[in-house]
Amino acid sequence: MMNMRKNMLAAMLASVALTGAASAADIAVIAGSANDAFFNRVKKGVDDAALVVQANGGTVNYLTTQNYDNFGPDLVQLINTAVSQGVDGIAIPVWVAESQVPALKSAADQGIKIMMYNSGAEVKEQIAGINYFGSDEFVAGEAGGAYMAKKGAKKILCHIHVPGAVNLERRCDGIVAGAEANGATVMRLPTPASIDSDVTGTSEALKAELLKDPSIDAVITMGAWASDAATIAIQQAGRPVLLGTFDLSPSVLERIKAGTQTMAIDQQPYAQAFLATTMLAAYIDFGIDLPTDPVLTGPGIVDAGNIDAALVGVAAGAR
């Protein structure tokens, strides 16, 4: 604890020395491979934020890993690249704490400001992070469960396509909390790996559950593809069942537009990247720091009420 304070103090002093006068923030944003749909949204957020930073005379450099094969070392390499470029601040998620924390600590010791987004809130103190912009699986699930219960659901089926996956189980825990607070019950359905990403198998499994238990009146899936499967299952069960899912896909949005799916829970990566980048620049340039910490960027619920705006966002690459 003492050490950490010392580090932070040293970092602050160093930054005062470095940033000194009116030189605007030069920022590096580190992210995952652009092949990933998720990081396409992140990039859009960074690109838009860069306009703001540049308007104040700063620069934004967007650094990504090529793939996830050698993830920890690749991220450290990117951190070192950013440091050697002499940036004032780095916005970065912490995915591989054991690799990233030492590198980020040493960056912080050199006076570089660290802003966190998407992942790693638990190591924020260690690396002297300014703030965290991301979502919380439990909170997202809670919002989804409460939403369904308020729409009239009495018994919600929570489908987990990878049993034991920590983030999916957390989502389901959240759904249970949100539903029970609003008078609904939840049934968890973990389906074995033998039907993971098998749409027909998953669809038939969900249908069998719906046929067996007529009191199920809502389904929430943990992935967009699983809600494709759930749609057919619900059609064939032959009774109205509310359908919600985590994450967006073109077919999910089409169904919400057509009214065959109730909602989708979005963690809004655009907001994570946009806010992390602009707030890092604002901290360096103007000393602005938000009292809300961490800042949750999700869940954003897409339903019939805001689907048109969401579709515009999709076309623009922001959702």
Binding site: R188, P190, D198
Partner: protein
């Protein structure tokens, strides 16, 4: 073949597989209640069996011939995406999407086949290479062409009716394809000369070649068949679910091989039957889907699946040994 006595019937390779299937059916009919055996409930496992079965039989052929093709795990999503991109994203007519997708599958199957016959690398490794290569290519092209990893498609009614619709509310049309193809394959393996070639290759490839069987062409043909079959299932899924995504269909690899082995094909090759694989696929589908009709704790699903499959295969093997040692009523000479 012509002699339909009891002894010859039980000695047929599919008899054991049939017995395993009956065991699984009775088990879930008891524990799954009326829904499992009802008209709507039966669709649940028939749909899964049909999707898997179309891939399992060509995989069974390869296994009989002593080869394996695991690249199907990448072919299913690749074909699904290709269909979605061509006919969904670009809006080209469905037949164009189907032909281009199947054409792509022919190329991949051909590459698999050529690599296997030209190099000494085992087919498991060759197709593992194409498994990853096709997965990567699918992701790369999807991002390049559409900038997303999932596409939506709205196929016309006629395409739904033929490739990806439902009849009687819950029966996928692909069941008809499965039954038709199975009949065709029964003829191919058991009534045409090609069938004997296949068994000969599984027994001993060298002597098969010496006996004048065109083993090279034949092997390449089998790889093309498995690749095209996987692509067919993939594109039917896109038409059915109006959606395609770049997730891997790894479960198909494992499930197809399991179905084939439950169906009585030996892992060492040279022995097996189409009807056996047919029963094996049904068995696997019933075990996988039957769980959801029972009241067992859902966390036990995988355990129950494992135990049931093991029992089915044990019954099959024990029965086969008993049948082979059973001589029937001796004929007096």
């Amino acid at each position: 073949m012509g002699n339909l006595s009891f002894a010859s019937l039980i000695r047929r390779p599919e008899s054991g597989a049939f017995l395993g299937m009956v065991f699984v059916f009775v088990f879930f009919a008891i524990f799954g209640g009326r829904n499992f055996t009802s008209f709507a409930g039966a669709a649940s496992w028939l749909n899964v069996a049909a999707n898997l079965g179309i891939i399992a039989i060509p995989i069974g052929f390869l296994m009989i011939a002593g080869e394996l093709d695991i690249s199907i795990g990448a072919m299913v999503p690749a074909a699904s995406m290709s269909m979605g991109i061509i006919s969904g994203h670009y809006g080209l007519p469905i037949p164009v999407g189907i032909l281009m997708t199947l054409g792509f599958a022919v190329v991949i199957g051909w590459i698999n086949g050529i690599m296997v016959v030209r190099t000494a690398v085992p087919s498991l490794i060759v197709t593992m290479g194409t498994l990853f290569a096709v997965t990567g290519l699918t992701l790369f092209l999807s991002i390049l062409l559409t900038n997303t990893t999932a596409v939506a498609m709205n196929p016309p009614a006629w395409a739904k009716a033929i490739f990806g619709g439902f009849y009687f509310n819950s029966y996928q049309v692909i069941i008809v394809w499965w039954l038709g193809l199975t009949a065709l394959y029964v003829y191919f393996l058991h009534f045409s000369p090609w069938g004997n070639w296949l068994f000969a290759m599984g027994g001993d490839k060298e002597s098969a070649r010496n006996a004048g069987i065109p083993t090279t062409k034949f092997t390449i043909g089998l790889f093309i068949l498995s690749s095209v079959s996987a692509a067919f299932v993939g594109l039917c899924q896109t038409i059915l679910f109006n959606s395609a995504q770049v997730s891997t269909g790894m479960s198909f690899i494992f499930n197809a091989i399991i179905s084939v082995v439950i169906g009585g094909v030996l892992l060492t090759g040279g022995f097996g039957s189409v009807i056996g694989i047919f029963f094996g696929t049904l068995t696997f589908a019933m075990v996988n889907q039957g769980i959801y009709f029972t009241d067992f704790d859902r966390n036990l699903s995988s355990l129950i699946i494992g135990v049931m499959l093991l029992i089915a295969v044990l019954m099959n093997n024990t029965f086969r040994q008993m049948a082979l040692s059973y001589t029937g009523s001796r004929k007096k000479d």
